[in-house]
Amino acid sequence: MTEIGAERRAAGRKEPDLSTDIGGIRMKNPVMVASGTFGFGPEYADLVEPDRLGGVIVKGISLDPAAGNEPPRLVEVPCGLINSIGLQNPGVEYFVREYMPFLRDCGTTVIVNIWGRSIEEYRLVAIRLSEAGGVDGLELNLSCPNIREGGAAFGTDARLLRQVVTEVRASTDLPLIVKLSPNVPDIGELAVICEQAGADAVSLINTLPAMAVDVETRRPRLGNISGGLSGPAIHPVAVKMVWEATRACALPVIGVGGVSSLADALEFFIVGARAVAVGTATFSNPRCALEIVDGLREYLAGHGLAGMDDLIGTLET
């Protein structure tokens, strides 16, 4: 009897539509896993069904292999962690050969985060990934605080930002997402530059520069002295910046920064993000992104919303 009742209720109520579109990238739902926290794809395969994610954003890939920074590379701080991994990766050729077969078959949207030490390197990685097949979009990392050359240097200088986005845009037909640094006076201004230079979307925020000291040894707690702060501690900062970016430009925004619960994700959607990515929270709960997908479906249904468009950008001020 209860089954019949459940069927009737289901028939009378359409399942909410979780699908979303990020600058031409169709996604089955708006919850991805963020670059740097989900490896190169297969690491979490035993624990997370990738085909239930909205998308996977692969860890930053560069032209040549990169060894990253010296350990310790991670330190926990209240409500967050500081990392100084330094974009260690096996280089684009190895990535395409060893990881793309898994990613092509994983049943979800695949976005590859890319970085370079020069604009030319960004271009060459973008070209290689465009030919690889199976990549649905590129996320330009212009905001990593952990490498000396490239990284945030491109994302915090308006002139360089315009140049790198323009040149990569001219090198690939893949949808182009620009991941922005929070360490700027006006995030809206940079989002507008991305829009003018031909980006299809922006994602924000990357980590905030941070440092922790061991008071007994008086030494930095990271091998690289400082690193980037992520986790719940930075979420309110990210919400504010996503809100500013969505008001400043027409590009779709991916909200990243400290999402560890449905409420965190909802905040991003309400201030205008078209998708979110779960990062640090995956470490303590590998299924966090999947739980948010389920929670989001219930939230939409419970609030009588037919789909994401009824939720995105509905902030009342």
């Binding site: 490896g39 990253g68 350990p71 590379r73 330190v75 929270a281 590998p286």
Partner: protein, 266 residues
């Protein structure tokens, strides 16, 4: 296969000093964990602690896995306060196990402090019983001696303050053992602070002994995704490679590890 299992706390008792044993009811992880593998435990009730904590599995008994731990910081303090019947989220089994012992070699287990806990399952699994060398700062840091003895292992002890056994380091015991039995074909299994591992590695390489070292590094994800816990090793071709302690380790053969500085005379 890596599982994320909700485990009920069956017991959580102090065993002297800051050391405790956590007993967790587990179907999946306890049923598949191998000697040297570890688990990643989510700290309950504390959302401000965003990372899980890695622990070696001490042993598996009666459908439970036991974790032997030391209260050293905020996470382990919360764990110490966790009561019976509480539920803990555990990821595991993680990492690569110690390989099967060489049946032709005399096994020697070298433990610094609670590194002994990571070697207990090795002691259980070895067909051949050998010698366990336990080292620590003081008598209170010498752990599981009677447990190793009851498995049939010979136990030798060294403490830095001389409060139990030889006054000195665990590697002094190792030197004495090697000197006592020239021509013996040994195999070493070691877990402890990195300085100790380095000292064991140096002796192994000098004597041409195969040595398996279990490393402890600060970890993020535990499954190989975040690249926090890296270690430099050399592959078969002698090429330097940066690998993940959580995935390619935590157990490495001593000869493959690239040590950050010359071991010198430690």
């Amino acid at each position: 296969m890596i599982y994320m299992e909700t485990c009920r706390v069956e017991d959580n008792r102090g065993v002297g000093g800051e050391y405790r044993i956590l007993v967790l009811r587990s179907e999946q992880i306890a049923g598949s964990v191998l000697p040297g593998q570890f688990v990643h435990v989510r700290i309950p009730r504390r959302n401000d602690l965003v990372l899980r904590r890695p622990f070696s599995v001490f042993r598996v008994r009666n459908g439970c896995m036991e974790i032997f731990y030391k209260v050293v910081g905020a996470g382990t303090r919360v764990l110490a306060e966790t009561r019976r019947h509480a539920a803990l989220s555990v990821l595991g089994p993680l990492g690569r196990a110690f390989p099967d012992a060489d049946p032709d070699a005399e096994p020697v287990l070298v433990a610094g402090g609670y590194g002994a806990a990571a070697l207990y399952m090795v002691a259980e699994a070895c067909r051949r019983r050998g010698t366990v060398l336990l080292g620590g700062a003081s008598a209170g840091d010498i752990l599981l001696g009677t447990e190793f003895e009851s498995l049939g292992w010979r136990v030798e002890v060294a403490t830095e303050d001389g409060s139990l056994g030889l006054k000195g380091r665990v590697t002094d015991l190792l030197d004495a053992l090697i000197a006592r039995r020239p021509g013996e074909h040994f195999e070493f299994f070691a877990c402890g602070p990195e300085g100790m591992l380095r000292a064991v590695a140096r002796r192994a390489m000098q004597k041409g002994v195969r040595a398996w070292l279990s490393f402890d590094r600060r970890m993020g994800c535990g499954v190989g995704a975040c690249l926090a816990c890296v270690l430099d090793v050399r592959d078969e071709g002698g090429r330097r490679r940066r690998v993940r302690v959580c995935r390619e380790g935590p157990v490495f053969e001593a000869g493959t590890v690239v040590w950050e500085e010359d071991p010198g005379n430690d």
